[in-house]
Symmetry: C2
Subunit: 319 residues, 2 copies
């Protein structure tokens, strides 16, 4: 069976959906095109404003745009919306809000009072470059900008749907999500923790927000209950897989891949999957989670292919 | 003319509005009753959840509730809503969101990387008590909780109105508001700044959010354009007056009143109104701003009396 030759015009953004046979080139082009739209929107969101806030804007720009990143979370939101029949451009502001929230969490994670990392993605971390005060304020401003974007009125989006997204995201990053997980992680450093606690920490720290990015996309698309269920399961499994792979990379990965010092979590005495299950055991757990996630997407058919691809990428980052 | 004797039942919360003659006891009772409703709702908002996040919840509770506070911002939101004919209980979740945001800004302000204050309201500051890491995370969780509350579906509130409030508040605390002002303030320490810059810093740092709390109340009440204009002007003037009085208190106030070391802003080489206009000149400026604010409320009639009272309190804190 030969792979069909695609008309390049069919590879443009906002096309009518994936071709039936989905050659790898279509997928790669689709993801690239979405990533470019995200990057353009992120830039636009940080334009304008008064001169006295120029320096803070520079810090925000460095944190969210200038220091690179795969735009995984905004892609998950957009592709989840598309998997449920939604249009990419309608989900774009909320998708970019996810990247601003993610950037806030990264620059805070690196602070001396948290993980005390001086390098991230091969560059000096935000507080090393701009100081701790401006880094903390940039975090606040990134969070605020994210909520501002999610609340931007849209003719394509019922206001009640936007409120659901805002509630979902706010919960996923607050006391019962990311912040709560981070706090439990801080408190668990150098302490013996049960596997149950390890799971709760990781669910809060990483999985809750990753899953929320995916569920937000399906909410924006006005997904039916069965679609929402599928995306929720996919999100939970991908969130789990993501954290396991992060733990593996932290122990085995090369510094140029992870962008931070190898073994730094171990040095901090942190609770990790590799410490509990070993590297091979952890790899098996990650693959099992991925497979459960992909299976959940089955009923959605070919519109979910790009989302599946990102799922596979998340687990394949290192092996 | 004798002051009418009020039936105590008319002093309950959610009564039908102020009596025509507004004796001081009615005002005091009204403000007290609203403050109690705010305190009860703040407590309720922090209940429940998983055990592994107990410690972070404790930090949030200390920051927002346990360490005291006048509940000025939630009162402003509720009273602004009532001044425009809205019901207090409909504005209560958003009003309490304002207190959580305020608490976040306070615990961050005190951090070593910011003002480096070890005392606040006569107690050790949050990071002194719980450490910097948990303080930063509590700030995030307080912000998230605030947006979650603002996005809570309500049968009494159109979703579009809630989105407007979220947008307004997000802007007022972000790059073009509080965070931007704080950043400019940090950068201006020990530098010569123009009066124009001083105004921009204070507008962002304090006035933008205070004004937004007031405008949010009127949005929630579905205010007409003329009411919104009146509240916007009142908010801008009260915001300005608030910052001027803060500067005066920092220079002349007693540590038990301000809860922080007298002259600490001067010690940091910060740009202040008192440094620019002297204490007497600053007092005159604050009174002028208050009077312009009260004048703007005139067209609203007696429903705005409690709001006027809070305005007067803001300026009368020290003289």
């Amino acid at each position: 069976m030969s792979i069909p030759v695609l008309d390049p015009r069919s590879l443009q953004a906002h096309d009518s959906g994936p071709p039936a046979l989905l050659p790898a080139s279509w997928l790669a082009n689709h993801l690239n095109s979405r990533r470019q739209e995200v990057n353009a929107f992120l830039e636009k969101s940080l334009e304008g404003g008064a001169r006295h806030s120029d320096e803070l804007r520079r810090v925000m720009h460095h944190a969210a745009i200038g220091s690179g990143g795969k735009r995984l979370r905004p892609l998950l939101t957009i592709l989840a919306a598309e998997a449920c029949g939604g249009r990419a451009e309608v989900s774009l502001p909320c998708a970019c809000a996810m990247e601003f929230i993610h950037a806030c969490s990264l620059i805070q994670d690196d602070l001396p009072a948290m993980d005390n990392d001086r390098m991230r993605r091969g560059q000096p971390t935000c507080h090393v470059k701009f100081g701790e005060g401006l880094t903390i304020l940039a975090g606040d401003a990134l969070l605020s900008l994210a909520f501002e974007l999610m609340a931007t009125p849209s003719t394509d989006l019922p206001a009640t749907r936007q409120l659901s997204v805002i509630q979902l995201i706010a919960r996923s990053i607050g006391l019962h999500g990311m912040a709560g997980g981070q706090a439990a992680d801080l408190l668990a450093a150098n302490a013996a923790v049960s596997m149950e606690t390890l799971r709760l920490i990781h669910e809060g720290k990483t999985a809750a927000f990753l899953q929320a990015c995916i569920v937000a996309g399906s909410l924006i698309a006005g997904a039916a209950a069965w679609q929402l269920d599928a995306l929720r399961t996919f999100g939970a499994e991908i969130g789990l897989a993501f954290q396991i792979v992060d733990d593996i990379l932290n122990e085995t990965g090369h510094e140029t891949v992870t962008g931070k010092a190898v073994g730094s979590d171990q040095a901090l005495g942190k609770a990790t999957f590799t410490a509990a299950y070993g590297v091979e055991g952890s790899r098996r757990l990650a693959l099992e989670a991925l497979n459960r996630g992909l299976e959940a997407l089955d009923p959605l058919g070919p519109t979910s292919a790009p989302l599946q691809e990102v799922g596979r990428f998340i687990v394949a980052r290192n092996f």
